[in-house]
Structure formats: C-alpha cells, structure tokens
Symmetry: C2
Subunit: 412 residues, 2 copies
C-alpha cells in the first residue's frame, strides 16, 4: 500500500491539521530562546513536594496501593468529585458529586461534549478569536463555526462555546451583560453552552463575575434544569501534566457524558485523581494565591515593556487575569511572517490567525507572560517591537494610516 | 428546559447505551459476592512498591518533579516509546519510537482509530462475539458492523478489528491461517486492521503466534508500508488504573493519530508515563511471569470445576491464555435472565449477548477467572451450574435436544 494516498481516512481526518502552538513548543527549548508562545504554567509553581507526599502515602500499603493502580469508576474518584462540587458551589454553581464527571483535562471535556451534541453541519458559536484547541476538538465532529458577534441572523445553533474569564488568546473577560446575552441566545436556540473556565482562578484584580452556569441555574431554578456545561481544569493551578479536568452540569447530561467517556478511554487515571485530591485538600487556595502573585507581576512587567517599546499602530489588551496579552498589529502586517524573523532572533510567540475559525486575524498575535521574568520581558518585548516596527516600513499603505498607539483597557 | 427530551443530542449519542459489564461492576463489591464478571487484574499483582519507588524518585527533586507535572509531547514520553518499540520488535514488529503513540489505555487507541477512519455507514468487520468496549468505541462513529465469518459477500470494508490472542470474551486464539486470511481480506478491501493485543502477554501454554502486524510487515517489506495498527496496553500486565496503552503502526498514520489525540486530550498523563517506564525497566518480564503463573492456576481451577459441575448441553472454551472462559448454554436459555437469579445467590458473570453487535448470543456467558481462587471457583461454579441446570428444565423444547456435554478445545 502506498503510504498516505490510499489510507481510507474519514472525512473529519482529511481536514485536520497540526496545532501551530504545539509544533512551536518543540522549538522553544532551543538555548537562548525567549518564548512568549506556550500557555504553560511556571514550573516553579508545580508543587512536586506535595505530589510526592501524596503518591507516597497512597502507594505505601498494599490495599490503597492496589486501589490506586486498579480500574476505577468512569465518573471519577468520588472524594474528588465531592471536593469539586463544593468548589463549584462556592462559585455559585450549586451542585453535588453526581453533577461532576472527571476527565483527562478540560481538552477531553470538549471532546466528550462534541461527541454528545454535534452532528456534521451543526452550528457551533464561539468568540473570535477563541481557544485553538476547542476549534480542533469540535472540528472532529464537522460542525459549521459561527462568530458570537454576528449571530443575530442565521440558522439554528446547537452549541455555544465560551471562555468567559481571561480568555485564551485575548485575556478578555465577558461583561455580565454579555454573559446574560449568551444565555438568552442559548435559550432562544435550545442550545447547550460549553463554558470553559480554564483561567477563572487566575484573577489578578477586580471582582469575580458569576459563571454563566451560575446565571443559568439561577434563572431556571437549579442545575438539573440548566443548559450550561461548566468545564474546569487543574492544568493552570496545580498541574497540567496529570491531565485532570472536569465537567459540571445536569446529572442527566453527566450520565450521558459518562457513557461517552467510558467508550473513549474507560476512566481517568486512578492514581492521579487520588493524588490531586490529596494535594487540593492540603492547600489549593494557598497554591493558587502564590500563582496569582507571580503571574500578576509578570503581566505587569510585560505591559510595562509594551508601553515602553511598542511602535505606533500596535494595540494590546490589558488582561485582569489569565496568562495572555493579545496584540493587534497595523493592518497588512503578517504575524506568521513576523514569527519566522522573530524565531531567527530567538523570540517566540503565537500568530493570531490560528485562533480564528474563519482564517482572519493575520495581523494579530498572542503573548504569554507565564514564563517571562522582568529581564526576559524587557529584552524580548524590545526585540519583538523592533521587528514589528521594521514590518511597518514594509506594510501596505493603509497599514501605515493606522489608529496610532492605543491600549485596549479591559473592564473588568 | 425539560431535562432529557429537549437536549439537542447528536445522532451517535441517541444510540448509546451503558455497558452491562461496567454497571455490573458497581454491584460486585457486595459482601459475599463471588464475581466472575469483571476482567480486572488480581490486585496482588499490582506492584505498589515498585510504583511507589518510581513516583518517589521522579518527584524527589525540583527539576524532574516539574517535568513530571508539566505538559508534555502528544506522542508520549520518548524513553517509554523507545522501550515499547524494542518490545514490539522482539514480537516481530520491527519499528522505532516514531512508530509508537502512547494513549490513555488501549480503549483510547480504539477511539482514535475510529476517529481517523470511520465515517457513518462504513463497514467495520469484527469477530463475533468480540470486545464490547470496541463495539461501543467504534459506535460513536456510526459504522455498520459485519461478522468476520460472513464477510465473503457484501460491500467494501473500511476497518477490521481483531483480538488475535485469548480474545475477550471467548479466550480464543486466531490460528495462523486465520491471521493470514484476515490480512488477505484487508488487502482486498484496502482496509485497515486494528489488532488489539490486550491479552497477548498472558499466554499459559503453547508457542506465541506472530501478531498480524508482523505478518503484514513481513509481506509488504516494512512497517511504513503496512496497514495494521497494533494496539497494546499495560492494563493486564503492570496496572490498568494508570491508563497506559499504545498504538504501533506506520509513522504516517501515527502522525495523524497524534493530531487526533492532541484534539482529544492533548497528551497522556506525564507522571504516569515516566513511572510506567521505570517500573517496566525494573522487571517487566518477571512481573508478567508471576501473573502468568497465578492466572494459569486459576484457569485450571475453573476448568476443573466446570468439568465436575456443568450440566449436559453446556459447552465452554479451554483458553491457553487470557482471563476468560466462554460458556454456551443450551439453545433457548437466556443468560441475562440467569444473571438475575445468579446475583440473588451472590454469583456474578457477564451475559454474552452484549458481545455480539447483531443482538445474538442470548444463550452465552463470559466467566473471568482472574479473581477466583480455588475455593471461589469450586463454590461459585457449582452454584452457577446448579442454576443453569434449573434453567434447562424450563428451556424451550429444542433447547433440551442440545448436543450434550462437549468441551471446545482451543488450538493453540
């Protein structure tokens, strides 16, 4: 059989492509590279001592050791589900353990939700730009993507995917009024909302806004009548490498998602669920508070560097949380071409086009500050801005007539 | 929104149902229950001491600890992929690390393969009966299932799913001639073979037969030209709870499966891959040899009990490996009804109907001997056979005219 040409691929597979971010991550280990590319946690925040103690205690005797290494329930480890239900309840999403399904990261949550709801051609509404991994995950079910801003007209909507807090890639928060409008839209269409709360814990200033799932259940009377599936993850708080996320929603949907998870990978790794539960119990809030302090400082360093170095015509977000700053370059600038030059000068970022389902956004880019200390931000942003300024000289005429220097302030 | 009725489920989701096996597993913890239901490893074979040492070493210092808890490559942990490639090579499947994708168990391997190849209506050929989890996994992609024995006629075939060694649920091995015929069939149709080697390591007598992937690459000249995706797992050897399996195949297909895995759950849990690699290095063969000794003894105890107690008209397989014995009851006997009575007398097994895609097999059942010591097998099989004999008295007339006592000997 000739490789490739004659493999009998599915329709979905013929349209898949590699994630630019993930491919980039393979390059950024190069010595001397200053990477603003990956949205990965600072390694110093991963509490190896706490996890070491958790695995050690769990595997110390034959009985608990065998339980940690054995098959377990598809729904997840009950004490962890209980802990998560309490946590969700304090966020305004009143629920119990039966409303929680533990997943292999929130990426798997999106895959399971796609499997449960999406037939080919179904309309999925997202913010634009939005999380690339969500576009890839849902794409396996061959939907049509639509932009939340341009949804007034058009056919029925099946699923609305939203990252309300400190979104990847923009760092933006949805205002309360936007959250309510999204819920109205979902009700009008009988649609499901997939609420991705990956960055919600990483707020550096301002007051928490209610999750859409909380607004939903307040409106309809309880979680069992709600239409929002709230997806959480430990990846930005305690550890991404253990692949632990969850879905919180009506028990009837959690039951169906559990059947789908069973067919997808039986259950989430047992030992990791137990370890994560132990580490979360031993001080989740203190660990997250430390992460907030560190990331907030890094955000400030990067914003200061942008203030100092950004050439005219470049705008950026000023996020109140999360890991990302989003730059808009003068129209006509090609961020993908810029990346090639930047890599040659040992700077990495993610061109913004990948985050748009419709192929727009060529003049945008995403900067992550999670790994950038003061010196890296100062040096890296200066070098990047120098490159951007150089691009401006070659940009199409209309690009030069940009709106001048402006900062997009994000409220709240 | 009214729960259930108005959820906008996908076509695939409307046809999903719970696994009887997994639902059963929730009952078998009842005190006094003798369970021959789940295909789960004996807990005493899960080496908690070795895993404890592995996690402890990995998390002992900040650098390796942070690596174990951080995001990692979708393809899997390179040293583990290398170890697996060597292992595959000794089994006759010559390959390197780039031919290996690490998955969250071999259940996920099937899900990824389904995603890569299956469009609705595509024909998937399986043994009948076959692994229920495979039927569930592929069902998400809405194929039409066909029986390997009746495939001579009919339309094109997209995927052939086979468990060549000590299959779940029958314990059967495919003869060499059957393996070659399956490969011929795949070539004729331009189809992919998914070879599920979950039980291959658990051989208790006789000589290894070549995996279909080995026959395939010998025929076409190398793995890159092959059409077989060989799926392995650590679930029956070192630990099922860590959810670690792999796919071994042509690099071009491994690359595409990697993209699909990335969209499905980013990557397999980092810490577990490192721990499994350390434990495998520290004595995989010795641990598997111990498992073989224990399971072989248990198989013998159960076969002896069946010889002693089985009523006329009942036949069963005599597997040379794996964890299962497959019973065929007199025609007209309903194993699902039998299960209700058995549970009331504290005996559990899995009715065979679930393992047939076409709804046949009502008079079959699966017994697992993995947890059954001599006393449990003797008492449990005696009680079960008493119940079967009682059913015989009520069976339809044609059932009583069965073929009498007969044992299906399996070669090899």
């Amino acid at each position: 059989m000739a490789p490739h040409a004659s493999y009998p691929l599915s329709s979905r597979a013929r349209h898949m492509r590699a994630s630019e971010i993930r491919e980039l991550l393979k390059l950024v280990d190069r010595p001397g590279m200053i990477s603003f590319a990956g949205g990965i946690p600072d390694p110093s925040l991963l509490d190896h001592t706490a996890f070491r103690a958790a695995y050690d205690a769990m595997l110390a005797d034959a009985a608990t050791g065998a339980s940690a290494l054995q098959y377990s329930a598809t729904e997840g480890y009950l004490p962890l589900r209980g802990w998560l239900a309490e946590r969700m309840t304090t966020r305004g999403i009143a629920c119990s353990a039966e409303n929680i399904l533990v997943t292999h990261g929130s990426q798997q949550a999106l895959d399971l939700i796609g499997k449960l709801f999406l037939d080919p051609g179904d309309r999925v509404v997202t913010q634009a730009p939005t999380y690339l991994g969500a576009l890839q995950s849902f794409s396996a079910f061959e939907p049509a993507f639509a932009n939340l801003r341009h949804i007034a007209a058009g056919g029925p909507v099946k699923l609305i995917y939203l990252v309300p807090d400190f979104a990847n890639p923009t760092g933006r928060c949805m205002e309360l009024s936007e959250r309510i409008a999204a819920l109205d839209l979902a009700e009008r269409h009988g649609a499901i909302i997939a609420e991705d709360a990956a960055y919600t814990e990483l707020r550096y200033e301002g007051e928490d806004l209610p999750p859409i799932a909380a607004l939903d259940q307040a409106r309809v009377g309880g979680i069992e009548e709600a239409r929002t599936l709230h997806c959480g993850t430990f990846s930005k708080t305690l550890s991404p490498g253990l692949r632990l996320g969850w879905i919180c929603g009506p028990a009837a949907l959690i039951h169906r998602l559990t059947l789908i998870k069973q067919a997808s990978d039986l259950h989430t790794a047992t030992a990791n669920q137990r370890a994560m539960h132990a580490v979360a119990l031993s001080g989740f809030d203190a660990r997250v508070a430390r992460a907030r302090r560190i990331y907030r400082q890094r955000r400030d360093w990067m914003l200061e560097a942008l203030e100092r170095h950004a050439p005219p015509g470049v705008t950026w977000t000023r996020p109140r949380g999360g890991l990302f700053i989003w730059l808009t370059l003068p129209a006509g600038t090609d961020a993908a071409a810029l990346l090639q030059k930047a890599l040659a000068r040992n700077i990495a970022f993610v061109p913004g086009g990948a985050f748009f389902a419709d192929g727009s956004g060529a003049n945008t880019l995403r900067l992550s500050f999670s790994l950038a200390d003061e010196a890296k931000s100062a040096a890296g942003i200066a070098r990047l801005c120098e490159l951007i300024a150089g691009e401006g000289a070659h940009a199409r005429p209309e690009a030069v007539s940009g709106t001048g220097r402006a900062t997009t302030h994000q409220h709240p």
